[in-house]
């Protein structure tokens, strides 16, 4: 299995461990990643709030770079916001040829052409459907028996274009978690919003949303995420939110490939577990790491 790899800006900064663990696990599962050379920012949620065309051109540049090398190979994207932005360009330009022309007029400044052939795939989609729980389960070297995991999907991995799972009641992580020998924490918060960027501009509001999610995760040994923004809100603000709500909400938050990597018995250094902001003593003790 071969994919282009678009890490996105967060995976070079606050999400370094997501980047490292994705690469390590894909390598261990025999999937080959080719990083898109000279990739640039997808525009995040800033571009679309300022310029519609820019919100098309920035992701399109990366799609065009991939197409230039190979039009048939899917692009693996671990960040949900990047995934949505790339997907949005595929869909909007497919429905509007005049827009595609305009995008290409802009891209000519970069000497690139976007033909609408490249396909972005979310990491969760690739884990759930290309690699699949059976194949992953067969490589498990250390069953995570007795570990209760809360699957957190967030928003943009699923909505509005999530085609690989139910966008309101997603379940695709559950077979994966079970294939590792772990149990699924039963809850209904998996697809609820954490507040995303509001944690910067409207902290009280986002803290309310993230607080409700953390509170519902009580009873689980850890929560797994598939997005650096979700991860940051869940693990970076735990102390603050616990204080505001007056309840202890500390819980280990891992990226999904970190959890898979632990079951594949990859070295904790390769998964960069030391970079997670919230990794509780009880979790470490339970896994003996």
């Amino acid at each position: 299995m071969k994919y282009f790899y678009y890490p996105g800006c967060s995976l070079e900064g606050t999400g370094i461990e997501y980047n490292a663990s994705t690469r390590a696990v894909m390598d261990a599962l025999g999937a080959e990643l080719t990083e898109i050379e000279d990739w640039t920012c997808c525009g995040a949620s800033a571009a679309e709030a300022m310029s519609y065309l820019l919100s098309m051109v920035l992701p399109a540049r990366n799609l065009a770079l991939a197409e230039q090398i190979n039009q048939e190979m899917d692009i693996l994207v671990p960040c949900s916001a990047c995934f949505l932005n790339l997907k949005r360009v595929e869909i909007h330009t497919d429905q509007d040829r005049a827009l595609l022309d305009k995008v290409n007029t802009a891209l000519s400044e970069e000497g690139l052409i976007y033909r609408g052939r490249a396909r972005a795939r979310h990491l969760l989609d690739v884990f759930a459907n290309d690699l699949g729980p059976e194949r992953i389960g067969a490589r498990v070297k250390r069953k995570l028996a007795g570990l209760r995991v809360a699957p957190y999907y967030g928003c943009q991995s699923l909505r509005p274009y999530g085609s690989y799972d139910d966008p309101q009641e997603p379940r695709s992580m559950e077979p994966l978690i079970r294939s590792l020998g772990a149990d699924v924490h039963p809850w209904t918060m998996g697809a609820k919003c954490c507040g995303a960027g509001l944690m910067t501009s409207k902290k009280q509001v986002a803290a309310e949303l993230t607080g409700a999610i953390l509170s519902a995760a009580k009873g689980a040994d850890c929560m797994v995420t598939v997005c650096p923004m979700c991860q940051m809100n869940q693990d970076g603000y735990q102390a603050h939110i616990s204080r505001v709500r007056g309840e202890d909400l500390r819980i280990t938050i891992l990226y999904l490939p970190q959890l898979i990597g632990l079951a594949l018995d990859l070295a904790p250094e390769r998964l960069k577990l030391d970079l997670n902001l919230a990794l509780t003593h009880s979790f470490r003790a339970k896994l003996g790491i």
């Binding site: 606050t14 300022m50 509005p160 507040g195 603000y237």
Partner: protein, 209 residues
């Protein structure tokens, strides 16, 4: 235009017929998106942040239909959207509601009605770093953001997390090399941002459409 001046830093609307026409077209385009809204309120019931809004999403669409732009810009509703796309997914009319919020945000920028909004300042800072380096540098982004907000107390709220991240090596301080624009003697005059030309082209194309 020099190195790191982002195209969207034009804070004040340019007077003139062209701008007026662009504004009217933009308002009409926003109205067109939600013309079929029947005020069922599924969006408000699905919205994660409606509890904090002065106008619910349903009320916002009605105000758009009525062309009450002043009231829309005065409200906090559109700045409180966290792009979760629940409303878009559930709208029984299949309207692009989250996209409409983005269009309203852009309209507010076009109108110069967004100055007090923290989120807009954040987006500006964000795009400025993208224009300069092609990728986001979180450290520079936050520094720019704090600087434009001109509030000495704002950074304090981020200090504990910022220190934690820096301690973990998650806020790299190095910045990528920029392209030097040289004079005829080969001496660097100024450094061109990675996307100066691309951003300029996009701005040009948007103005003529």
């Amino acid at each position: 235009m020099k190195g790191d001046r982002p195209m969207m830093r034009q804070n004040h609307p340019v007077a003139g017929a062209a701008h007026k026409l662009r504004r009217e077209n933009a308002v009409a385009a926003v109205q067109e998106k939600i013309r079929a809204c029947m005020q069922c309120g599924t969006c408000s019931g699905s919205c994660a942040n409606s509890f904090a809004m002065d106008h619910t999403p349903r009320q916002l669409w009605r105000l758009v239909q009525l062309g009450e732009m002043d009231e829309i810009f005065a409200s906090k509703t559109f700045a409180l959207c966290s792009n979760c796309y629940y409303c878009t997914l559930r709208c029984p009319r299949g309207l692009p509601l989250t996209e409409t919020i983005h269009a309203i945000k852009r309209l507010a920028v076009l109108e110069g009605r967004d100055e007090e909004k923290k989120s807009t300042q954040f987006y500006r800072s964000f795009l400025a770093t993208v224009q300069r380096y092609g990728r986001v540098r979180e450290m520079e982004l936050m520094t720019r953001y704090f600087f434009t907000m001109k509030n000495p107390f704002l950074p304090l709220g981020f200090t504990p997390l910022g220190l934690k991240l820096m301690f973990k090596g998650k806020l790299p301080l190095h910045v990528p090399q920029l392209l030097a624009v040289k004079d005829n003697k080969g001496k660097a005059m100024f450094f061109e941002g990675r996307f100066d030309r691309l951003f300029r082209k996009v701005e040009e194309l948007e103005k003529t459409s």
